[in-house]
Each structure stands twice: as C-alpha cells, then as structure tokens.
Symmetry: C2
Subunit: 148 residues, 2 copies
C-alpha cells in the first residue's frame, strides 16, 4: 500500500513541478517517491554536504519548485494570482516570497540553500502546510491588499 501522503494536493503538485523541469523525460516511468527523493535529506546525506557552499542549479531548481507548489496551492484556495520569487544573495543565503496582490503572503529567509531538504516527505509537507496556513490566514485578514 502506498503512503497516503502521496495523494495529497501538495505532493501531487510537487511532482508536477518537478516533471515540468524534466525536459529530457528522465522521470518518465518514475514513481512520485523517486522523483521527490532528492528533497529528502537524511542525516547521512546531510553529513556529506559541506557546511558552507554555493547551491548548484539543481538544488536551486528544487527550492523554486517547493515555493512554486505552495503558490499554486494558495491560488487554488483563494482564487487570486500568487507570484513566487526566490532570490539568493550570496553563499546560499536569500529570501523566498510569494506575493498575492500587494500582500506578502509568504516571506521566508533562506539559509544554507545548498543544504535544502527535509527529513522526510512528510516533514516537507508539514513545512508547506505551515507556510500555506499562515499565507491563507494573512490573505483572509487583508483581502483588500491581496486583491490590489
């Protein structure tokens, strides 16, 4: 029996985001778990990544996929355009924001982007749910700004 988490909107959207990046069809025939496996950063995997480093293109693509997926879920819930923006400054520091109208619905300081990942897919979903819930609450509190 497959993990029920794989049937959630968020995980489905994450897989969709990753498939959209898969220009050469590498993922064809892959399970969702296999496609999303690079997001899972177990202790062993983490130990193999240097403490300080610049994120590579693939890691950055995963960070963007994560915030894109959250933006899609925000749009689905509130029917307003949600625009993600992942901005790196230096050495893996940066800022991820999602704007809805003139409201910053998600605002997250990024650190150690080259070590971006989660203990498990379940932990990733928990983090996404948190960001989504804060965003929707804020949009609910300030609908005029979100509608600007």
């Amino acid at each position: 029996m497959s993990d029920p988490i794989l049937d959630t909107d968020f995980i489905k959207e994450m897989a969709r985001q990753m498939r959209a990046l898969d220009t050469y069809g590498t993922y064809s025939g892959w399970t969702v778990e296999k496609i999303l496996d690079p997001f899972v950063l177990t202790k062993e995997r983490k130990a193999n990544i240097p403490l300080i480093g610049d994120p590579d293109e693939e890691t950055l693509a995963r960070v963007k996929a994560f915030y894109n997926a959250i933006a899609v879920l925000i749009e689905k819930e509130c029917r307003l355009l949600a625009v993600p923006l992942v901005h790196l400054t230096h050495e893996g520091f940066g800022r991820a924001i999602i704007t809805v109208g003139k409201l910053v619905a998600v605002d997250k300081t990024l650190r150690d982007v080259h070590r971006f990942g989660f203990d498990s897919l379940s932990k990733m979903k928990t983090e996404a749910d948190k960001l989504l819930s804060v965003a929707l609450e804020r949009i609910g509190s300030y609908p005029a700004v979100a509608g600007l």
Copy 2:
C-alpha cells in the same frame, strides 16, 4: 550655479548609494553629476545599446542603487524598515519590489534592464518620486500590513 535637483534627498541618496559601491575610490573628487552620469541614457547613448541583451554587473548595480535609494526614502518618511529586492529572470526581464512589513510598497516589472537609464537626472527623480508617492500612499492606507 548648480542644478537645484542635486540638493534633493533622492539625488543625494543616489550619490551615496553609488559611493558605497565605489570600493577603489574611483569617485573621490568627482561631482555628483559625474557619478550619476551613467544613469542618463540620452538618445545617442541608447542607440548604441543593442535591443536585446543581458545586463552587465554595472548596469545591475545601478538598478539596485536606484531601488535602494527609494527604499531609504521610504524608511525616512514612514520610519519602518523597507527591503528592496531586484530579481532578474532572463534577458533583462525581472521584477523590483520593496516590501514594508508584509506590504509590497513598490512593485515594478523590469524590462530591458541592459538599457536601464533615464533621459535626464530630472526624469530619474520624477520616476523615483512617483514610486515613492505610490508607496507612501499605500503604506498610509494599510498601516497594519506595513507594520506586520
């Protein structure tokens, strides 16, 4: 007699922003007009820049200086932290935003960043004044979001 525009807060702040980037003291002894001269894109200068191109580091630094200066002026006026973010996507397209709390006070789509510039310093100040005035009005309308 020098142009009164050089005594405005905006132009002074622009010069300050540019001097902050001047690691090697190249600008020492330069007039403000000379320091800000690369922002002036006369018709002749514009004609010498290809229609499509990637912005170089110096052009990008000028775009950032422009939005940094506006953020500083917003802070001065409303006494809240204003955070600028200039994000390029591809071929000189991008987005410049300034957030104050969870409010997007400035939101500007960037096009042809490699051709960033203004007819004159006066035109640059006019554009900055417009952005500043929209930002301050929006902050005034939604102080709760700006204070988040």
